[in-house]
């Protein structure tokens, strides 16, 4: 994570507000969305703030149209975003896939609440983690980030725009309701101190331009609308000219490139944080508000003489398997994965750990956030070998 240059711009704000501020700081100038708790504050704030920056806000007729509108805006060069929660995120999936295939930079914020369906508005959940990865059809590439504090909500929103611009990929910011609505003191960085990325743009004469021909980093410079390129953009598999093609060689090359461009940048876009991992016998892997409870639990465990450590994931897709492997020191005996779902990211952790230690999921699906003591108990059980390490489905 880039060090924030701390100035006197101290504010007390909500996670959702930090997302809106982060978006503006990253250069977002277009928002289209449809109201839904617990994300609506983002829309409300941006409806007031964007016009003051010459930006645009529109409340669309639904979430399908919202993603469509931000893709359209992005094609003219505007950094664009939307925000929603579960039911809306479900509706966004088709055009999210479109952005993935047509390589349109957009940011989608999903402040997770309990699902499925209308579920339990608006209690916190981490139930959309797999949907963020696999919600749209096809082998699409995607990036998802999950902040665990108000400060991180700001930082990761900026990062979401940067990754989206650099890789021409939709980036999903997964907050949970706790993070979205929590208020904390934050030091807003000086705008000049932020690293803000811009997409590469196509240039040169339109004759012979291949708008989908990638550079060495796998990312083609983007041919924006209204610049005289007269380019075609489609959700069909396309060749380097941008026109529909179903040639087998082209199809395979295209979908592989879309994944490769993320894979090549993976280390750069992976943001994690380790606490006490060097000598840890018990490693907790957590993200979002669950990482806060886990941090407390790990500290409490240390006070009790248990060698516990935490790996906090802020990038969750592509899954940081290498960081998980690296977090397992020579003494590790147990890995614990608390989540506010019935066990989603734990499967990825298990794949990464690959038998090096037993992996225990801890599920909380009551619509309440994790208490540190709930994680601590599992840490204690683990060192005492009191857990069977089958699926541990909590309250």
């Amino acid at each position: 994570m880039n060090a924030m240059v701390e100035t006197q711009n101290i504010r007390m704000m909500q996670g959702n507000e930090a997302v809106a501020e982060g978006a503006l700081a990253a250069g977002c100038r277009f928002y289209a969305g449809y109201p839904i708790s617990p994300s609506s504050e983002i829309a409300e704030i941006l409806s007031a703030r964007l016009p003051r920056f010459g930006g645009r806000f529109i409340q669309m007729e639904d979430e399908i149209g919202s993603v469509a509108a931000i893709i359209g805006a992005s094609l003219t060069g505007a950094k664009s975003m939307t925000a929603t929660s579960g039911p809306g995120f479900s509706l966004m999936q088709e055009n999210l896939g479109y952005a993935s295939l047509a390589e349109i930079p957009i940011v989608i914020v999903n402040v997770m609440r309990v699902g499925p369906s209308t579920g339990m508005p608006t209690s916190p959940s981490q139930g959309d983690v797999m949907q963020a990865r696999w919600g749209t059809h096809g082998d699409h590439p995607v990036v998802a980030l999950a902040p665990s504090s108000v400060k991180e909500s700001f930082q990761l929103t900026v990062e979401a725009f940067n990754i989206s611009e650099e890789l021409r990929v939709p980036v999903i910011l997964l907050l949970d309701e706790v993070i979205g609505h929590m208020r904390e003191k934050v030091l807003l960085p000086d705008p000049g101190s932020l690293r803000v990325s811009e997409r590469k743009k196509a240039s040169g004469p339109r004759e012979g331009l291949l708008p989908y021909k990638p550079d060495a980093d796998g990312v083609p410079p983007m041919a924006l609308f209204g610049q005289g390129h007269r380019c075609h953009v489609t959700g069909l598999y396309h060749d380097e000219r941008g026109f529909a093609s179903s040639s087998p060689a082209n199809a395979s090359a295209l979908i592989r490139r879309l994944h490769d461009k993320i894979e090549m940048a993976k280390d750069r876009i992976t943001i994690t944080q380790g606490v006490g991992l060097d000598d840890a016998e018990v490693v907790v892997v957590a993200y979002g508000s669950t990482a806060r409870a886990s941090l407390r639990a790990v500290k409490d465990a240390r006070e009790k003489g248990i060698k516990a450590g935490l790996l906090k994931l802020m990038t969750i897709w592509p899954f940081p398997a290498e960081r998980v492997k690296a977090a397992l020191g020579p003494k590790v005996k147990h890995v614990i994965v608390p989540e506010m779902n019935l066990g989603q990211l734990v499967g990825e952790v298990e794949r990464a750990v690959y038998g090096a230690a037993p992996v225990t999921p801890v599920s909380k699906v009551s619509g309440h956030l994790f208490q540190p003591v709930e994680v601590l108990r599992v840490i204690e059980d683990a060192v005492a070998d009191r857990v069977g390490f089958t699926n541990r489905r909590g309250g």
Partner: protein
């Protein structure tokens, strides 16, 4: 590139707006989509739109494949959503002319919600709907404009539902230019499209089209020319329609202009909002 002089042939002029390298098109022999596309190109030629500042957006369907053949910035989107993509383009960059091409299913079934809301906002977009009363691309299933009693591959016993009058729908939703033409009546169609392109606000042109391969074959129309003739035989002008009873009119395509009026346009209003928000130094909205 050939110079734009009075001696250019019609074909040379058309080539300026067509991606010749993408021809032949994918449409079936006898499909009227080619005629409608030609009418759009003619309207582009005659209104002198700037090809570098015009974006043509389409959904999914046979008709929506038109964007692949037009030499502009073109966006082939998802089924039913072209107006929502177009809304983002126009609002983000008001200097662009934005034209949407869509089928009857794309416009009025899956895209019906975007259609009425784009019309309600009176956003400056020209929407051209190729209405062949059927789902061509997916093989002849019924659409929101399939006529009562007619056959479709999903209406093997005859269609039970009433159809939408797309022009009435557009008008009721707030469109400020509304016209209906047909692929048979080429010259008036070009005229409506030209007027729509010049109109400020949401303009809608419905083009009664043919799908000889599905609609025609399923409904006893022998060949492509017969299908066009069938359209011609069912067509009446707005004036002629006035003399018909409601039942008689229901059997006809009423051709002409239905709405042409001025109303505040959404993006212009938004740009004014920006000006006043920027000038507003109160702390109402916290900085």
């Amino acid at each position: 590139m050939p110079e734009k002089t009075g001696v250019m042939t019609a074909e040379e002029k058309a080539r300026e707006h067509i991606r010749m390298q993408n021809l032949p098109h994918i449409w079936c022999p006898g499909c009227s989509n080619g005629i409608t596309t030609r009418a759009i190109v003619r309207a582009f030629e005659e209104t002198g739109v700037d090809p570098d500042k015009t974006v043509v957006v389409s959904g999914i369907g046979c008709s929506s494949r038109t964007t692949g053949y037009l030499d502009f910035d073109t966006l082939h989107t998802t089924h039913g959503r072209p107006l929502a993509f177009a809304t983002g383009i126009k609002l983000a960059n008001p200097e662009l002319k934005v034209v949407v091409i869509s089928g009857d299913g794309d416009t009025a079934a899956i895209g019906g919600n975007h259609f009425i809301h784009a019309a309600r906002r009176n956003i400056d977009i020209t929407h051209i709907c190729y209405n062949n009363s059927i789902y061509g691309m997916t093989g002849g299933q019924y659409s929101p404009t399939t006529h009562l009693g007619d056959r479709a591959t999903t209406a093997p016993y005859g269609h039970l539902e009433r159809e939408f009058d797309l022009c009435e729908l557009a008008q009721a939703a707030g469109a400020t230019y509304v016209a209906r033409g047909t692929a048979y009546h080429f010259v008036p169609l070009v005229n409506y499209i030209k007027k729509a392109l010049k109109h400020k606000g949401f303009s809608f042109v419905e083009v009664i089209s043919t799908c000889p391969v599905y609609y025609g074959r399923l409904n006893g129309i022998k060949n492509a020319p017969d299908h066009l003739q069938w359209v011609a035989d069912r067509s009446v002008t707005v004036k002629q329609a006035e003399k018909l009873t409601a039942e008689e009119r229901a059997q006809k395509y009423v051709i002409g202009e239905f709405v042409q009026k001025e109303a505040p346009e959404y993006v212009e209003n938004y740009m004014r909002l920006i000006e006043s928000a920027r000038g507003d130094n109160g702390d109402r909205n916290q900085k």
